[in-house]
Symmetry: C2
């Protein structure tokens, strides 16, 4: 636990003049950008008629086919009382009922961070970026692929804390497989709370672990604050098609009762968990989200929830999931429209890829998905950096590569500046035909903020790049990862709070034996 309790010793270069300037150039920035607020339109692939057909069909599915709430008599009671038809575990929901119940869910909410500068507003025109979630493996450029550990987890939290364009610390940034399954949520939450000051996600793998997440948040924020504010956004997956298991719903119930936010997220591998068509998948996604959101509101009206959609297509030759594909993009664009019609925040997209390496395949696939995520109106983007090999692997190099690309989304979202300065007529008049803009007054006044540039990529002339070792992106990313982890400094935290969190974790761990299933 020393990694949490003791700030890593820093290696900042000291001294003035050229050395200081070099140090500044190579120093790892600790700026965090504000969450994105879009000043650009959303891209919409469904026309009004298509939306109406899909919404009608989704209600037909709820009414005729229905959904299953597994091992959850409490949920069946709530549905029965709300007017649904309950037959065993099958719940059939009369047309219009689920949508009506969804109306009490807020259109946006603030998730508080322990550093108020890091608070995020989820919904509306905003986009909040959070890192990869769930991989049991890690791949590093120097050591290859292996099971992830709690130390890896802490490294990812540190990288996230230091990533300028990342707004959120996330949840299970990798599975700490060296910690007992029934206890790892404690270490994960402690890492997010202590090693970062960005907002985080709670545990969902068991209702008791969700409750632990609430308790630990009360230690961090104070009990009264947590009673009155949202401090977690947690991921509730639906077992598509149309199945809501008792454990996930149990976690949702904990969060909804405590007014903590949940992403209600169908988990769609197209052709396996949903039809092979875009419209069919959208129909099922909408039916599932309507049900999950309605259920959250039955548990507690007004609880903050997000319309989620994890979507991937499938390679019909091998059955392998594929990423960054056009069909997944079309579904996400459509799901964004359906979410906005419901007035709910929307979660989808990410730096998805199938590739085993952070190579060109990974980057094409990830860029396709990141661009689509911006334009589809996503409000909460999980997996925005670090995802590799279909989500089986978290990669620190991929993490910093993707995190760098997230800067593009920020700059794109600004839209076009149509001010006098933006119109730049003085510059065009000054330079005239055949002139050069580099030295003109308008360029000098604006160049620092004019163009996004990567902090990672190589823009040097060929000869310089060649002399420096002809490094590819992975090599540059590996250097960046090492430099970030070497210079990481823990954000300040009240020692009493840190001790109380440690005591809670110790007590909880001591209470039950380790379980690895």
């Amino acid at each position: 636990m020393s990694d949490v309790a003791q700030p890593t010793e820093t290696r900042r270069a000291r001294g003035g003049g050229g050395a200081a300037r070099r140090a500044e150039r190579t120093a790892v920035s600790l700026d965090t950008a504000r969450y994105i607020t879009r000043n650009i339109p959303n891209f919409e692939v469904l026309n009004a008629e298509a939306i109406e057909i899909i919404e009608w069909n989704a209600e037909t599915v709820l009414e005729e086919v229905g959904v299953r709430f597994v091992d959850n008599p409490y949920a069946l009671d709530l549905w029965r009382n709300a007017g649904a038809s309950v037959d065993g575990e099958r719940v059939r929901i009369p047309r219009g009922l689920a949508r009506k119940l969804c109306a009490t869910a807020p259109g946006q909410y603030t998730q508080h961070a322990r550093n108020p500068d890091r608070n995020v507003v989820v919904g509306g025109k905003n986009l909040v970026l959070a890192p990869v979630y769930g991989p049991p493996f890690i791949r590093t450029a120097d050591a290859g692929r292996r099971y992830a550990t709690i130390n890896d987890f802490r490294d990812f939290v540190k990288l996230g804390y230091m990533s300028k364009w990342l707004h959120h610390s996330g949840g299970t940034v990798c599975e700490p497989t060296d910690v007992a399954v029934n206890k790892r949520h404690l270490d994960m939450l402690q890492a997010h709370m202590v090693l970062s000051d960005k907002p985080y996600m709670g545990s969902v793998t068991e209702p008791g672990r969700a409750q632990d997440s609430v308790e630990m948040s009360k230690i961090l924020f104070g009990a009264e604050f947590v009673d009155n504010n949202t401090v977690m956004t947690s991921l509730i997956n639906i077992n598509s098609p149309l199945t809501f298991d008792g454990i996930m719903m149990g976690a949702l119930e904990v969060y909804a009762r405590n007014m903590q936010a949940a992403i209600i997220s169908p988990f769609i591998v197209g052709g396996a968990m949903a039809p092979v068509t875009v419209a069919g998948t959208l129909t099922q996604v909408l039916a599932e989200v309507l049900t999950g959101v309605a259920y959250s509101q039955l548990v507690r009206a007004g609880a903050p929830v997000i319309f989620g959609a994890f979507v991937t297509s499938i390679d019909m030759n091998s059955g392998a999931p594929t990423f960054g594909t056009p069909e997944a993009s079309m579904i996400t664009y459509g799901a964004g429209q359906l979410a906005r019609r419901l007035g709910l925040p929307f979660r989808s997209a990410g730096a998805f890829c199938a590739s085993k390496l952070p190579d060109a395949q990974a980057a094409y696939e990830s860029a396709n998905s990141l661009n689509m995520g911006l334009l589809s109106g996503v409000n909460f983007m999980l997996h925005a950096c670090g995802w590799l090999e279909g989500g089986l692997v978290a990669s620190p190099e991929k993490f910093v590569m993707d995190a760098d690309q997230l800067g593009i989304l920020h700059h794109m979202a600004r839209g076009v500046d149509m001010s006098e300065n933006g119109q730049a007529m003085d510059a065009i008049r000054e330079v005239g035909p055949g002139g050069h803009y580099l030295g003109c007054a308008h360029t000098q006044a604006n160049f620092k903020e004019a163009f996004w540039r990567s902090d990672l990529f190589d823009y040097k002339p060929f000869e310089t790049w060649d002399e420096e070792g002809a490094r590819d992106t992975v090599a540059l990313a590996h250097i960046r990862v090492r430099r970030m982890l070497d210079t990481y400094q823990q954000p300040a935290l009240d020692p009493g709070v840190a001790e109380a969190l440690q005591a809670f974790v110790d007590t909880r761990k001591a209470a039950v034996p380790d379980a690895f299933v």
Copy 2:
């Protein structure tokens, strides 16, 4: 010239059963997809007010600042007669005149290929994809970076011919630096005409070379056909800011007089050749295109032209051009809107990158630009595959990597199928809660066409991929390049036409000594 005259011997596997099926799986496909027709909307970043401001400002630039037509008294006469104010080489164009002159340019045109199945319609909702143009260097995975030769050129033409998602053979796919500057256009055109049956571009580096392109096209298509049809689309760059040099305009004049198409293309490195702001750059681009298109119509009303925009931003730290950046994307989205307002086909975007290697940097940058190109309404996309290192380098591996990604643009453009089959309600009813779609009737009927998959990327399980050598995308692409070139077969061509082309090339080459400047 043996490479042109003799079809490469093929290495197709023979025999039935499993061997035949394996051969089929590994065979290089010779299908060429039809050019894209979008069934999705364009993404538009400018609102009506912003468009009006930019259009007003562009006319102000033409009226007050004016443009330069260098070394071109003929052009100055045409402008004077049309009502512009001519002062030395400076041409000031009264508000509204250029736009009025543009009205005779067609909204779309058909470029014919020698194989009519490969004809493309440029404009409207269509997108035609053409390969990289202009690199003096080549980089291959096995041999690194060196000057390109005519043999490299021929290999790129072959790769383009065999690339399913590429509609156009392009122009200077690389500079054949081993052929005299004043003769290489002959070898390049011959390669496009003989080694491929897709449409191609003409030479623009000298008016006489443009005339040679017309003459060779008359040999290929017949003189009467060329008199009555467009068989070339050629690239006329504007020397931004606001300068039209005599040589490029001379080439434009040749093509316009012959009713052959030209792309009128400002060449913008933001901050150097245009203001550092999006709106300022759009203003200059519009002023330049209005002038160039108007001039083409003064030469011959009705000549087919394209509203072009080559746009890149700059790294203000080093002055290096950067690609796949948000500012370049915003300019391209805006330029698409301005082109549609003018009723002209639009050329922009491509698989742009600054990276020296076909690595993750290259792929992020290229994917950003390709996606933007689709959504910005581009009608003719030059550089759609093969571009590396800011356009200094053509790469066969990058060529096949990008060409594979172009499949995504085709599938995205299809939009959402809202037919009964697309709605898939029978599938949802059949499978029900907790079921699986892989085996259902709807999936079985649709799976072959349902999802785009890469023909290049690795989708195998980790263990299989690892056993096969843990290859990255470049390694897979290198294998694909070798396989394509090994199995290339020249498309059939009337031997008399081939001989006449050879005779024309030989005669022209013999007429003047080699020049390397």
